[in-house]
């Protein structure tokens, strides 16, 4: 197994506020990783640093051994926590845009998923509910054959039935070498698909562990451990 994501002393400050503080982290390929922490713990900031949407204050972040840039963007499929699509576009136009720019995008996969979730490809995003927009974004992101998927709160705004479908979709679309990093605080919902967890709090990595270890050695569920670690 080789490393897909590596942070060395990664720090990000916003003014005087420290969002990510000297994080050292290595994520190996071929697993589903939960980036778990309470609200405001620095999950989104870390994912945005990996996408070059934020510039680190100090330290480095490497994806497949490279600094974030054109080459890493070709292999990273990112789902942001906000809706980033143009309101005026129709779904099929956005699929066209993704096909144009990402060599690894599979439009047929996107259309198939749209059909399963009964979303009309001719609809404009303007007319859609927030949940439907989120579904469209997730479909777009998961229709790529990326090496690294960075999903920031992918299930926050959608109903439980769609949530199940989406998790199934993630499982189905991810191949042996790909890595999925999911940031969320809704742990019980995704616990079953995780291989590895990173607990993060106040910008620092508190604990990393494989899910098997948590279950076998500590005899707890990830959700249980999370509640214990982050007890208020």
């Amino acid at each position: 197994m080789s490393t897909i994501l590596e942070c060395t002393d990664l720090t990000k400050k916003f003014g005087s506020k420290v969002a990510v503080s000297a994080v050292n982290l290595k994520i190996e390929r071929g697993q589903i990783v939960g980036l778990l922490g309470p609200n405001g713990s620095g999950k989104s900031t870390m994912i945005k640093l990996a996408n070059e949407l934020l510039t680190p204050t100090s330290g480095t972040i490497l994806i497949g051994g490279k600094k974030p840039g054109i080459e890493t963007k070709k292999i990273v499929s990112y789902l942001p926590e906000k809706t980033y699509l143009n309101d005026w576009m129709r779904v099929h136009q956005i699929i066209g845009l993704f096909s144009d720019f990402y060599a690894d995008f599979k439009p047929e996969r996107a259309y198939e998923m749209l059909k399963s979730l009964s979303i009309n490809a001719n609809d404009r995003l303007k007319t859609m509910s927030k949940g439907t927009k989120e579904k469209v974004q997730l479909i777009l992101v998961m229709s790529r054959e990326a090496e690294l998927y960075l999903l920031d709160e992918p299930i926050g705004g959608v109903d439980p039935a769609a949530r199940d479908y989406i998790l199934q979709t993630i499982l189905r679309n991810y191949n042996e070498n790909a890595t999925v990093i999911i940031s969320t605080h809704l742990i019980s919902d995704i616990e079953n698909i995780l291989d590895y967890v990173v607990f993060i709090n106040q910008g620092q990595v508190v604990m990393t562990s494989s899910v098997d270890d948590i279950r076998n050695e500590k005899g707890k569920s990830v959700d249980g451990l999370f509640r214990e670690v982050f007890k208020c």
Binding site: L54, E71, L85, N86, D100, Y102
Partner: protein, 266 residues
């Protein structure tokens, strides 16, 4: 990749500008047909249609300005930036695609405005008169100035385009510099704009005060014959284009540096 960006930029802006162009030409046509019909009973509709025409005309130019700012700020530095900056595309291509498309719409708006004015004011036979007038002007100019008339026209067109680019790029650079601040980004952008334009003005003054250049211009412009004078004008415009070109590159470099190295999307 640049051509794909241009394609999407055109799509995103064309859906606003094409209907505006169409509306402008339509109201120019309506005004044209109503106005000459004659006596008082048509005066009110003609006035109304004329007013609507003027509103659209003004709105069109205001829109080119708003779109120039919005496409840069919203598409690259707000939520939509999450998509644009995760596409495997170098930031300079984003800037270039937005710059070119913005320039295109400004030039197109000018041309459409001109056509609409022609539609309203043109009378039978006037078009041929204008054409003849232009031909005369051209012949006269050619007789006096010779082949340098081509050079001069080329320079003027190039000068207009470069000046246009510099106006757009100084706005981009200001918005990008405003983005460096954690708070009050809009205010910071205004501040950056004032600072950048003052600096550019200062630089221009400094350059034109350089003894060599001042001497050179005095020498030529005071020359007695037309030919030497036109040579001086051509040279002066060339200097202007080079100077504006340098400013453009500086604004571009600032914008590109910020998008590459200092991007912080919230």
């Amino acid at each position: 990749m640049l051509s794909k960006l241009l394609k999407y930029e055109l799509k995103a802006t064309g859906r606003i500008f094409l209907p505006l162009f169409l509306a402008l030409l339509m109201f120019a046509g309506i005004t044209r047909f109503i106005a000459p019909i004659g006596p008082e009973e048509w005066a009110a509709p003609a006035t109304i249609s004329m007013i609507i025409y003027i509103i659209i005309l003004v709105g069109m130019f205001v829109m080119t300005f708003i779109m120039m700012i919005q496409r840069f700020k919203n598409n690259l530095l707000s939520d939509e930036g999450y998509l644009m900056h995760t596409l495997p595309v170098k930031p300079w291509k984003h800037i270039v695609s937005k710059l070119f498309v913005s320039m295109l719409w400004i030039v197109a708006s000018g041309i459409v405005a001109l056509i609409s004015i022609l539609i309203i004011t043109l009378e039978k036979g006037r078009l041929t008169k204008i054409a003849v007038g232009f031909a005369d002007l051209y012949h006269q100019a050619f007789e006096q100035l010779g082949a340098s008339i081509y050079l001069l026209s080329f320079e003027i067109i190039l000068g207009i385009l470069v000046s246009l680019a510099s106006v757009i790029l100084i706005v981009y650079a200001s918005i990008a510099m405003g983005h460096l601040f954690n708070q009050h980004k809009m205010l910071a952008s205004f501040g950056a704009f004032i600072i950048l334009s003052t600096l550019s003005q200062l630089l221009f003054t400094l350059i034109s005060m350089t003894p060599g250049i001042a001497y050179f211009f005095n020498l030529h412009i005071s020359s007695p014959n037309d030919f030497a004078a036109i040579q001086a004008v051509i040279l002066a415009i060339a200097y202007g284009i080079i100077f504006t070109g340098i400013l453009c590159s500086a604004y571009f470099a600032v914008t590109n540096f910020i998008l590459c190295k200092r991007l912080n999307l919230e």
